[in-house]
Amino acid sequence: MIDVIIGHYNYWIVIVLMMAGFYTVISRGNLIKKIVGLNIFQTSVFLLYISIGYVSDGTAPIIAEGFTRYSNPLPHVLILTAIVVGVATTALGLALVIRIKEAYGTIEEDDIHNQDESL
């Protein structure tokens, strides 16, 4: 039982981060906070990938003299791509928030909703 918890600690961290991020997205009304939550959520996924790529007693995946065991480089590559996607998403999100602030004068979801309802 302890073995399950300690041995899989990377998964637990991933789950905690994922839920924290997801919860932030859903529960917070401030648009910036939503983007923050989204980022945390995505980061947890990155950690998942990287942690599963680790090979026991393996070293960094760069060919060097005297090493025969390397961690799997593929997840690293995938995550680099995913990070870029995440950055693009964040940038787009923040740009949208600026435009929303200009149009509505607020970035609180409830206030925006109220303004739209009164239309």
């Binding site: 997801f22 998942l48 599963i52 593929l74 997840p75 998403t89 999100g93 949208l96 928030v97 929303i100």
Partner: protein, 499 residues
């Protein structure tokens, strides 16, 4: 040999054109470039379909790296159909977009608009062309991000919040998909979809595989607006620029349906689906989606919003087909991917024409407009008939297969739900037709300066009627589409239903 390069060209050409469009001066040049690219891609996609229609498969290894280590583009009948659809819709929407976008978007943003449009185009085509599941994720995000940007350019400020909401939900969906990919990677060590299929066979019982499947399905379900994950769709379709509504309504969700088909049946296989609750879940959510979304469409005050809810219902039909997991069911889904794009594209274009003329898409502002805009009205009438599923139109073909799938499995409640969905469609389409046909006692003055109750210019009408006539054509001449679909279903490994 050349076919392999074709499949790459479909992605490379728009990708190169996008930054060029951004650098062109504002005016008609960016539009011209986008138009030329879309038509070229349409021809390429048609050629591609002809090559694979009998069961051949085109394979292209990126960078010369052999699969499964390298990224592979793999085209069979299924993605060829969807690729052709995306290209065809773009080719028809862009002529329409010339006038429509000029009216709705600031002149200074035109070249950027077409640049981002081309990026979205790249993303959608890339999804259909690729054979690598992570590559699929990347293209999915490319198309989604550019879609968020395009939607945000709508006139109404609610376009911004619609785009933001879509972004949040879409990113969560894509991330779920990514988790699913990660979990299957853990189990199999490969990202190539064909290879995944083979490697998953012996380990279908593993819980990790099930979890990965669940994450992927939910992620895609968010993108395809399956009930109850459809909440982003009505706002997006209502507030986006008209040409973007046309384009997205006809392509984005359809491509997501393709991804679902590919993942569920192509990667995980039919045998797997039957040991999970996935097929029953699809049936259940499909039925609820059809009934609730159609009912919601009836009570809307804005035509675009009504069509958005109608789209959710129609997508539920496609999901129903998947839930049956039989030859008839999948045929219905694939055929409806194509047919729904035709009918919804036509309807959104027609509404867009009305918006172009009177500046509003609310029911009460367009009373009696059918008399001043007879061609538009006739187009809505025919496209509406296709939506309802009247024989002689494309919509009938999809409904036929779907009903046969239901009757074959003696799923009487589902069969009834499908028919009731058609009846609800009659109600909300007829609401529109009645509004356009009958005058109201008082005429309304609309706030905007632009108001001209006369028939639309030809460059808006021609693409519209092209789609409308396609609806009738594909309701009668279905040889090519059905052949391609049959090949696709066969390649997905789905056999006839047995007791």
């Amino acid at each position: 040999m050349i076919e392999q390069n074709l499949s790459l060209l479909l992605v490379v050409v728009p990708l190169l054109a996008a930054p060029i469009a951004a650098m062109l001066p504002n005016g008609r040049l960016p539009w011209l470039l986008a138009l030329a690219v879309s038509w070229l891609c349409f021809i390429l996609a048609a050629w591609q379909l002809m090559v694979v229609i009998d069961g051949d498969v085109i394979q292209y290894s990126l960078g010369g790296w052999a699969p499964p280590w390298g990224i592979e583009y793999r085209i069979d009948a299924l993605n060829a159909i969807v690729a052709l659809l995306v290209a065809a819709i773009a080719a028809v929407t862009l002529p329409y977009a010339l006038l429509s976008i000029e009216q709705e978007i600031n002149k200074e943003q035109l070249s950027l608009f077409y640049s981002v449009f081309l990026l979205c185009f790249v993303g959608l085509l890339g999804i259909t062309q690729t054979g690598d599941i992570f590559n699929l994720f990347v293209f999915l995000e490319i198309s989604s991000l550019s879609a968020y940007a395009l939607i945000a350019m709508g006139r109404d400020r609610r376009a911004l919040t619609a785009a933001f909401q879509y972004m949040i939900m879409g990113t969560i969906g894509a991330t779920f998909f990514l988790i699913g990919v990660g979990l299957t990677y853990v189990e199999t060590g490969t990202l190539n979809m064909l290879d995944l299929n083979q490697r998953l066979q012996p380990i279908l019982e593993h819980r990790t595989v099930h979890t990965g499947f669940a994450f992927m399905v939910v992620g895609i379900a968010l993108k395809l607006a399956l009930f109850p994950l459809h909440l982003w769709l009505p706002n997006v379709y209502t507030y986006a620029p008209t040409a973007i509504s046309v384009f997205l309504a006809a392509t984005a969700t359809k491509v997501a349906v393709y991804v679902m088909l590919r993942v569920v049946f192509g990667v995980f296989s039919n045998d797997f689906v039957s040991i999970t609750p996935a097929d029953d879940l699809f049936l259940l959510l499909g039925v609820i989606g059809v009934i609730l979304a159609s009912a919601a469409a009836i009570s809307q005050h804005d035509v675009k919003r009504m069509l958005a809810y109608s789209s959710v219902a129609q997508i539920s039909y496609m999901v129903l087909g998947m839930g049956f997991a039989s030859v008839y069911g999948l045929t219905a889904s694939i055929v409806h991917i194509f047919n729904h794009a035709l009918m919804k594209g036509a309807l959104f274009m027609a509404v867009g024409i009305i918006v172009y003329r009177i500046g509003s898409s609310r029911f009460k502002d367009m009373a009696g407009l059918g008399r001043q805009m007879p061609w538009t009205f006739a187009a809505i009438f025919i496209a509406g008939l296709s939506l309802i599923g009247v024989p002689g139109t494309a919509g009938f073909i999809s409904k036929w297969y779907l009903m046969l799938a239901a009757i074959e499995q003696q799923a009487w409640p589902v069969a009834l739900a499908i028919l009731i969905g058609s009846l609800l469609a009659v109600i909300y389409m007829w609401k529109l037709i009645e509004t356009l046909f009958f005058e109201k006692a008082e005429q309304h003055e609309i706030g905007q300066g632009v108001q001209q109750r006369s028939e639309a210019p030809l460059s808006l009408l021609l693409p519209l009627w092209l789609l409308v006539l396609a609806n009738i054509y594909f309701g009668i001449e279905t040889q090519v589409l059905l052949k391609a679909t049959a090949t696709a279903v066969d390649l997905l490994g789905v056999a006839d239903y047995h007791e």
